[in-house]
Amino acid sequence: MHRYRFVLWRPFQLLPVLFGISVLVFVMVRSIPGDPARILLGVRSTPQAIARIRAQYGLDEPLWLQYFYFVRNLLQGEMGKSIIYRVDTLKLIDSRIQPTIFLVLGSVLLAVLIAVPLATGAARYRGRLADHAIRLISTIGLGLPAFWLGIMVILLFSISLHWFPVSGYGSDWAERLHHLFLPCLTVALALSAVLTRNLRASLLMELQNDYVTAARARGLSENHIFWRHVMPNSLIPTINLLAVNIGWLIGGTVVIESVFAIPGLGQLLVKAIISRDYMVVQGVVLVFALATVAVNLLADLLTVALDPRVKL
């Protein structure tokens, strides 16, 4: 009973954070010195356009009313027109969001596929050579700059081995998968360093627990104990760790999209910053923040589903 109520209530508890995000994004663009209408429309804007945007955003009204207009426009699905692309930012985001989503999902999947075996090996052979090697590799991995790693991966797999395309996105699914593999691998390598370290630590902590001794005293095999008892207990904190890292992961994709020239939100953001296309900057930042909140919400719900102890 409690569980269902939690699932329904949790999103409402996030309302203050969502409010805060919208205020921060609103304040951010308004804090640029100069006439907001000109800033939002670019330097070469017509007087008519300026008049129109003044009315739409209530730029002559007090600030709180301007915020109200901003939110109203958002709820109506209008984020304002891009000065470069001449379309509404929301449309622009809609057309660019797919590669980014696949990049994030693919990276998480690959990172888990890399980290779980490594952390398992390190934890089960604690103090042996394998453990030291894995710890050293993951410590180095923490310091790998994603953009450079991406280029090195291109150098090896695309230029020397010709296995994968150098950059771009592709038009059909097979091609997209082919194009996205290297970018995903790059982000995954960096992410798996964090994951491996933390999963190893939580596996080692769980292995110390009394229920492991009790399971051994029942004659269960080490494999059974590890996969059925220790791993499920360690995965709960790891899921939360993934959620905490989603912001970091999105940051990584912003950089990686630029390295591999993937037409996603990250590349859109960087180009918008350089060309001072503030409507687009505002829109993409907002979408990334909402995505982060959504992923954390999902992790909360997943924890509730997986951990029977959670007090609601």
């Binding site: 203050p16 030291h132 310091g143 990584g252 912003v254 001072r276 930042v285 923040a289 982060t292 909140v293």
Partner: protein
């Protein structure tokens, strides 16, 4: 003793868990030395161009090769140490100071102020770290000082949370109650009694945060929003070399390796310090 055993024994000494702190200090000391001595030890000027020596692969005169302007990569990597160490230092110092003060006050005062600051932290944390930083840089305009400001505005939250939780756990200990019963002022108790005890874990965190700041600074510069060419910064150098990746791999490879090596120094230092102080943030 078998070969694997002896390798494992050496491993325990050198690898994490062994003498990590020493390894970290040695790596960092080497970099600081390079930064200090680069005017004398760098074989070439980092910015002057040489039209006769463009895109040379590594050779005895240019051990790391040259770029498309004929600049010596080794010299640029050496000079870059100054910029990147500065990025680490300033990029960590501002958030550290700001976050420590906010966290300490928030935890000590408590009440509505604490609630308000915690809400603010929740909101800042709702944004992806790098994205919020890029947004702030977008407002301020590209450049390294914008990066520092953005770093301070985004990075303080981690320190604030860490210090706040430490202060909260120390606040009701006997020695603080004793100080209060002696009639010391709140400011004195907070900054002379509480903070020194609360700082250990945030100092360890600052060391590992150096890695994050270094990578962020290099990434922002790589994207063209931080340090601007022709300054020799490692991220900028990687970006400059990317266009020549098919023909001149050395332009991007060596600055990247420099980033990895510096980051490793900080990682080892953080790990070793964490083990020594028993403080794992």
């Amino acid at each position: 003793m078998t070969a694997t055993q002896s390798v494992a024994a050496i491993g325990r000494r050198v690898l994490p868990g062994g003498n990590t702190l020493t390894v970290g200090i040695v790596i960092l000391a080497a970099w600081v030395l390079v930064a200090l001595l680069c005017p004398w030890i760098a074989p070439f000027d980092p910015i002057s161009q040489d039209a006769d020596a463009t895109l040379l692969p590594p050779n005895p005169a240019h051990p790391f090769g040259t770029d498309n302007f004929g600049r010596d990569i080794l010299s640029r990597v050496m000079w870059g140490t100054r910029i990147d160490l500065q990025i680490c230092f300033i990029g960590v110092a501002f958030p550290f100071v700001l976050g420590t003060i906010v966290g300490a006050v928030s935890g000590y005062v408590g009440g509505a102020l604490d609630t308000l600051l915690m809400r603010l932290i929740d909101i800042v944390l709702a944004f992806p770290f790098l994205v919020l930083m890029l947004a702030i840089i977008a407002i301020l305009g590209p450049g390294i000082s914008s990066f520092y400001i953005a770093m301070a505005m985004v990075g303080w939250v981690s320190y604030a949370r860490l210090v706040r939780s430490q202060v909260l756990s120390l606040k009701h200990r006997d020695f603080i109650l004793a100080a209060r019963s002696l009639g010391y002022s709140h400011g004195r108790i907070l900054f002379f009694h509480l903070l020194p005890n609360a700082l250990a874990s945030s100092i360890v965190f600052a060391m590992s945060d150096c890695v994050l700041v270094l990578l962020s600074g290099a990434s922002v510069s790589y994207l063209g929003l931080g340090v601007q060419p022709p300054v020799a910064e490692w991220g900028v150098m990687v970006a400059e070399g990317q266009g020549f990746i098919t023909t001149a791999w050395w332009i991007t490879t060596f600055p990247g390796l420099a980033i990895v090596a510096l980051a490793m120094g900080f990682s080892f230092l953080a790990d070793g310090l964490g083990d020594k102080l028993g403080a794992r943030p």
